[in-house]
């Protein structure tokens, strides 16, 4: 696995080597001769600094400073720039699972398999494989995961006499009924801004956008299953049953508040977002498993991240120790769940930590039981080394499709995404099947 990523990495590394002739090589782990080891940690999970405070109190020898970053993509771009430049990267980094192949390909992450010890049994298989990339190395310790669930306004459903949809066909019917009851009201929206969301939907449909075959990569973004998902959403947008505006905009927030968005296909972390954006709708929402295609019960993953040690860190050992503590120590996991509002990836510790439903869902005491059941049905999915390219292609192409409001535009957007992703992989020197 590592070697297949390196093949392509050579091209970028060679190019950047020219720019950074004066870069320094990382020194060996420094003994604690002079004062405590200082670690910098780029992260964006809310309140994660409060969890880190617990560590700092207990470990005067290893002090960790959190630097809040812009979530997801910007932090990775910044890290890669720092790696290319040869300096400026932090010791530790909160990395989304889909970014790990990209980071490994750019040599941005340290292999921490030695220092971390035996952690494999603590995490679900799918999560573990995304931090090892299926090999012997360990590139990060899983922090949280985001199994997808369906959220809906229980009060509106009752008022309209609607049943919670369990299949996508029912979802479409409910969407039509909701929109028919009030032309301003929608069961959901197709968001051309959230590639991770759409990838999760494809994952649920049983496909994987990338695959590894020997020493070459396969790209299967326009597979039959994803095309089914794309044309399903394209169809709903075309007939107007579903909104076509992106999520996480002020307009969408307003919709959550005033009840014009009465459902959200989201992930287990949704309570944090809903309580932040639409606090006054507390107690009105309920969570349910995702609507299903035919076949076995399945869901996708949206979001979720890990704690990685960067290749520029001069204190890999200390950083590994911290990353392991943060995500597996019962006290830390409890704090992650309580103050950082994440769904911890460590199975047993999460179960112990998540006993009562989030306050926003006090009307659904079994919230985390539902979530735990859903989490077990996450389908496998492989991310490739150019997720950023594929995701920005998604933003560009599907934004056009959402504007065009036709089913065929959605399918075309998917084809364009496939082409852009494949040609980028080839351009960067990867073998593509």
């Amino acid at each position: 696995m590592r070697s297949i990523l390196r093949v392509g990495a050579m091209a970028t590394v060679a190019a950047t080597a020219l720019l950074t002739a004066g870069c320094s090589s990382p020194a060996a782990d420094e003994p604690t001769a002079e004062g405590p080891v200082e670690l910098s940690f780029w992260a964006w999970a809310p309140n994660i600094e409060k969890v880190v405070e617990l560590w700092n109190e207990e470990n005067p020898d290893i002090q960790v400073t959190v630097s809040k970053q812009d979530g997801g993509d910007p932090a990775v771009t910044k890290l890669l720039t720092a790696i290319n430049a040869g300096s400026g990267a932090p010791d530790l980094m909160q990395a989304e699972y889909q970014k790990i192949p990209t980071l490994v390909a750019s040599d941005a992450l340290a292999d921490i398999s030695e220092g971390a010890g035996d952690l494999e049994d603590k995490f679900p298989e799918g999560v573990w494989s995304s931090v090892t990339l299926g090999g012997d190395a360990l590139y990060a310790v899983p922090q949280d995961s985001g199994p997808m669930m369906f959220y809906y306004r229980e009060d509106v459903f009752k008022e309209l006499g609607l049943e919670v949809p369990t299949t996508w066909e029912e979802y479409a019917d409910v969407a039509r009924a909701v929109h028919a009851s009030d032309p301003k009201r929608y069961l959901g929206t197709f968001s051309a801004n959230d590639a991770g969301w759409f990838a999760g939907m494809a994952q649920q449909a049983g496909t994987s956008w990338w695959s590894i075959d020997g020493d070459s990569w396969g790209v299967d973004i326009d597979s039959e299953a994803t095309e089914k998902v794309a044309s399903y959403w394209g169809g709903l947008v075309e007939e107007g049953a579903i909104d076509n505006k992106p999520m996480y905009t002020p307009e969408w927030n307003a919709g959550l508040n005033d009840g014009s968005q009465v459902g959200w296909l989201s992930a287990v972390w949704a309570p944090g977002v809903l309580s932040g954006n639409a606090a006054e709708t507390a107690g009105l929402w309920k969570a349910a498993p995702m609507p299903q295609w035919e076949g076995e019960e399945a869901t996708g993953n949206w979001g979720g991240s890990s704690t990685a040690v960067t290749s520029q860190s001069e204190h890999v050992e200390a950083a590994t120790e911290f990353a392991t503590w943060l995500n597996t120590d019962p006290e830390a996991v409890q704090a992650l769940a309580d103050v950082a509002n994440v769904f911890p990836a460590a199975t047993e510790e999460a179960e112990a930590a998540l006993t009562t439903a989030p306050e926003f869902f006090s009307n659904q005491p079994d919230f985390y039981d539902v979530a735990a059941d859903v989490a077990e049905t996450v389908s496998p999915f492989t991310y490739g080394p150019n997720v950023n390219v594929a995701f920005s292609a998604y933003n560009d192409e599907f934004a056009k499709a959402a504007d065009a409001k036709t089913e065929s535009a959605f399918v075309d957007a998917l084809k364009a995404m496939q082409e852009i992703t494949v040609s980028d992989l080839k351009d960067n020197g990867f073998n593509v099947k």
Binding site: G22, W44, S67, K68, D70, S87, D194, G196, G276, N341
Partner: protein, 296 residues
């Protein structure tokens, strides 16, 4: 050079003649009012929005005020132990020290370009003019790599140093120096035995002062509002200026809500010093216009 010095006076006298003499045209007034409305509406929005709490922000009428301004400010101040105020202090430092340094460098270079004859002067000035045309954003990445080689990324210097040299500032300073510092005075001082630096510091600088205030304000605002450079250079959020910090509050990743009320309140607080700055330094600008009129 000659063209630039003759360009300024007529422009000024025309402005002066408009003032007070001619009758105001209703069309022009209406257009200006429209322009003012266009500029002030967003400010009014920020003002109103910063008085609302999280749920009111997206549900109540846009320009209806509410009562939560002080709660919002308290919340913002409490965010991560007052990190917001640290960002404000950082911005004040970047913009204040940066603008002073930049103004000084601009004044010195502009004065030299205006009053000295040396080989390659035309080339230097032309390159400078090209520099005016290059947006600073384009330079951010190359500057990052330079700073990385010096090991200065993620430090105060990384944001401070690149903003000291401003081609536009130098260009303006050259024009001001040419217009405001008579060559005769410089030569007289030279004959009296003053050193070149002494002439610059004691004679040229005071004469250029109104122009320098303009450059200072211009640079101050540019640095205060700069986003790209600190965004790329800095990883440590305790070094962030207000622009990058507020942006971070909006982009917390998909799994966390954006902190809209905090950002809106922060935006309001962050423009107050700029407004204050303009009100305080406006005086010097008036002096500049009046001085020009008298000389012309």
């Amino acid at each position: 050079m000659a063209t630039s010095s003759t360009l300024t006076p007529p422009l000024r006298s025309r402005r002066d003649s408009v003032h007070g003499h001619e009758k105001p045209s209703p069309v022009a007034t209406a257009l200006l009012l429209l322009g003012a409305l266009y500029c002030l509406l967003p400010v009014l929005w920020v003002l109103m929005a910063s008085t609302k709490d999280g749920s009111e922000l997206f549900s109540t009428f846009t320009f209806a005020p509410s009562t939560h301004l002080f709660d919002n400010i308290a919340q913002l101040s409490a965010y991560r132990d007052g990190l917001f105020w640290r960002w404000m202090a950082n911005t004040a430092l970047y913009a204040g020290a940066g603008a002073i340094a930049s103004t000084f460098v601009s004044a010195l270079s502009g004065y030299v370009l205006a009053k000295f004859v040396f080989p390659g002067k035309g080339a230097v000035f032309n390159i400078l003019l090209m520099g005016v045309l290059v947006p600073g954003v384009i330079l951010a990445i190359p500057q990052y790599f330079l700073m990385a080689q010096l090991g200065l990324t993620n430090t105060y210097w990384a944001v401070f140093l690149p903003q000291i040299i401003s081609p536009y500032g130098i260009y303006l300073a050259r024009i001001y120096a040419a217009a405001a510092v008579p060559t005769d005075v410089v030569e007289a001082a030279r004959t009296d035995g003053s050193s070149e630096l002494g002439i610059f510091a004691r004679i040229a600088m005071p004469m250029m002062l109104p122009g320098l205030v303009t450059i200072f304000l211009f640079q101050f605002v540019a640095i205060w509002n700069n986003f790209m450079l600190p965004y790329i250079m800095l990883g440590d959020d305790s070094l962030f200026p207000i622009t990058v910090g507020l942006n971070g509050l909006l982009n917390q990743g998909a799994s966390a809500p954006a902190l809209y009320t905090l950002v809106v309140t922060g935006a309001l607080l962050s423009v107050l010093p700029l407004i204050l700055m303009f009100l305080l330094l406006q005086r010097f600008w008036r002096v500049d216009l009046a001085a020009g009129a008298v000389k012309a």
